[in-house]
């Protein structure tokens, strides 16, 4: 007899699952326990090069309160049901809203979306997991609070809790999001509610202003992990500066990245340029203004000659460095002088401001992101190949010119071997760079899907062999990446898992932890 469920958790019989679903319904009401195929369809689609059936959920639960989550966890412990928590569910290119393993129940916290506090003076926010950046943006604007967000490229439809817990980044001076996290409330697998840092102290009013509390700092173990369910999340906001000057520096050769990074590093470390600068390759920029089919026919990756033509046709750089200055007009004038002198010396880069580029859409979206505005223009990347396939390859690099060039060349070479293009950028931290490459492919083409899988696997293998680790990965490759960090770290992760979640009900497989 066919099952009434589209999938079941591993090792759980239909009868046991029936009992669990009945119990979930008692807590949430039938309307908030989804098992019908049409209701679960929006959770299934991913951009990964594996069959969506490998990540098909069994049910989705729409919870809105801590009490409901505590009861859900009690039921999961009773029946040993694995539960995969999502907030806004827009982790596109990393697994979207689908669970790591087939049959897991998705705990969907999108409707748990209260903005609990925004403090204008201390410039912080405390929100629930379902709050989107758009929601918070509107809240701040309506109240004229004079605070800026830092957002990832899918800004409007993503949210601060999920993005920061997966250690995502934005593009303002607050761009390394977890650095600016301050205080969490976490429901543990046994139902206990932990408030991290100063939040554990009764009557404390410093939960969102002092990160460390007393004793071992715990917030980190609830990021990229499966040790608890974060139900409240505090983080710092940037006071809106009185002046803002975004700019782009265009370079015309791939080798120029050595110069860019060597000039940029001291400016970043010394705080002259305060934001998470982006060094975007032409093929990361191109989809906003150009079509791939105008430059490539047939299979294989785009040639260097075609990239040069594209760059010329559309007035791009091979590298496009987006950065901004923030502060008073006086501060900006002083720092602008330092920046233009530093980048002007060799004569290789062309420095352009808003006035120079006019309504250039690529500049407009970068300028929006560097001030935390809502904008989804980066999704143009998905039009480059078409067909909805995308994985973020995200190795970490030193902020050293020779290293970035080496990583870029290596990535490009492996992508080309599999017929794929290098759509890459470097997001500049102070001493590190997040090398971000969108491995784009046509998911409707089985040959390209297979090539993309093999390519990504090879990228991880080759990079880790050279000592380059990836900081974040989609759910099809979590085990592989976990293995690259060695057995001792993996064992520590496992020991923590056993201590905090002995039945293994919370998101088994997240970051390779079970």
């Amino acid at each position: 007899m066919a099952s009434k469920y589209i999938a079941l958790p591993k090792g759980i019989s239909e009868q046991t699952f029936d009992a669990a679903v009945r119990d979930f319904s008692r807590v949430l009401g039938d309307e908030s326990v989804l098992t019908a195929p049409e209701r679960l369809a929006p959770y299934i689609k991913t951009m990964m090069p594996v069959p969506d059936s490998e990540h098909t959920l069994s049910a989705a639960l729409m919870a809105t309160t801590v009490e409901q989550i505590q009861k859900i966890l009690a039921i999961c412990n009773k029946y040993k049901i694995p539960i995969w928590t999502i907030s806004t569910g827009k982790n596109l290119g990393y697994g979207s809203a689908a669970p790591a393993e087939r049959g897991q129940v998705v705990l969907d916290l999108k409707r748990m979306n209260r903005i609990l506090e925004v403090d204008k003076d201390l410039a912080y926010a405390l929100v629930e997991p379902g709050v989107t950046y758009q929601q918070l943006y509107d809240y701040i604007k309506e109240r004229n609070l004079g605070l800026w967000l830092s957002v990832p490229a899918p800004s409007a439809i993503a949210g601060p809790t999920g993005n920061t817990l997966d250690r995502g980044v934005g593009y303002t001076p607050y761009g390394e999001h977890f650095l600016f996290a301050c205080g969490m409330e976490v429901v543990l697998a046994n139902g206990d509610v932990l408030r991290t840092g100063m939040g554990s102290l009764p009557n404390s009013n410093t939960w969102q202003v002092f990160k460390w509390g007393y004793g071992p700092y715990l917030d980190g173990i609830f990021t990229q992990s499966n040790y608890g369910i974060v139900t409240k999340f505090g983080f710092w906001l940037m006071p809106a500066p009185s002046a803002y000057r975004p700019f782009v520096i265009r370079y015309q050769n791939e080798e120029d990245i050595e110069e860019i990074v060597e000039i940029m590093r001291p400016l970043r470390i010394n705080g002259v340029i305060p934001n998470a600068v982006v060094i975007a390759h032409a093929l990361y920029e191109a989809p906003v203004i150009a079509r791939r089919s105008d430059y490539v026919t047939g299979p294989g990756s785009i040639s260097d000659v075609a990239v040069r033509k594209l760059v010329k046709d559309h007035n791009l750089g091979i590298w496009n460095v987006y950065a901004a200055l923030y502060g008073t007009e006086e501060q900006i004038a002083l720092n602008w002088k330092i920046v233009t002198q530093a980048f002007g010396k060799s004569g290789r880069g062309q420095i352009l401001t808003q006035q120079d580029v006019g309504d250039d859409p690529a500049f407009a979206y970068r300028a929006a992101l560097m001030r935390g505005d809502m904008n989804l223009q980066e999704f143009s990347l998905y039009n480059w190949r078409g067909g909805g396939g995308s994985m973020w390859f995200a190795p970490v690099s030193q902020a050293r010119g020779s290293e970035t060039l080496k990583q870029m060349s290596l990535t490009k070479q492996i992508l080309a071997k599999h017929g794929l293009d290098y759509s890459g950028e470097f997001i500049v931290g102070m001493r590190d760079m997040h090398h971000i490459v969108d491995v784009l492919y046509d998911k409707t083409d089985p040959a390209q899907e297979k090539a993309a899988y093999q390519c990504f696997d090879e990228l991880l293998t080759v990079f880790s062999a050279q000592g380059y680790g990836t900081y974040r990965v989609n759910s099809a490759f979590m085990d592989k990446v976990a293995s690259t960090y060695g057995p001792v770290q993996r064992q520590v992760h496992k020991t923590l898992k056993k201590a905090l979640d002995p039945n293994g009900i919370l998101a088994p497989g997240k970051s390779g932890i079970r």
């Binding site: 009401g29 689609k45 929601q135 407009a364 143009s380 078409g386």
Partner: protein, 119 residues
Amino acid sequence: MTRKKPMGRGRSSTFVLTPIVMAFVLDAIAQVAPENPAPASAPGAKWKNGAEVYAKICGYCHENGKVGPVILGRQLPPAYIHAVVRNGSRAMPPFRFSEIDEESLAKLAEYISKSQNTQ
């Protein structure tokens, strides 16, 4: 593709306010009578009207065809819009019942379907 101006901003919305107020009420109910199931109209998925959803989500990609195709003024059938929203299409992500409930999606589909061609 031609170069297009970025989409304008500045229209305020009550999207935030209503769910927050509702959520406080629901939270209070949950604390008093935690066995009570949450009502179907849980916070977070109700939108004021189709124009609001378009402005806050769809328009970022579809306005003037910036990323996805133009969808206004094409008399697209509501059933088609419903299907694309719930299932996604190629790179477009699907949107869940937790993000937009059926009533709000019906309003959105009607708004898009009956919109005039202004682009």
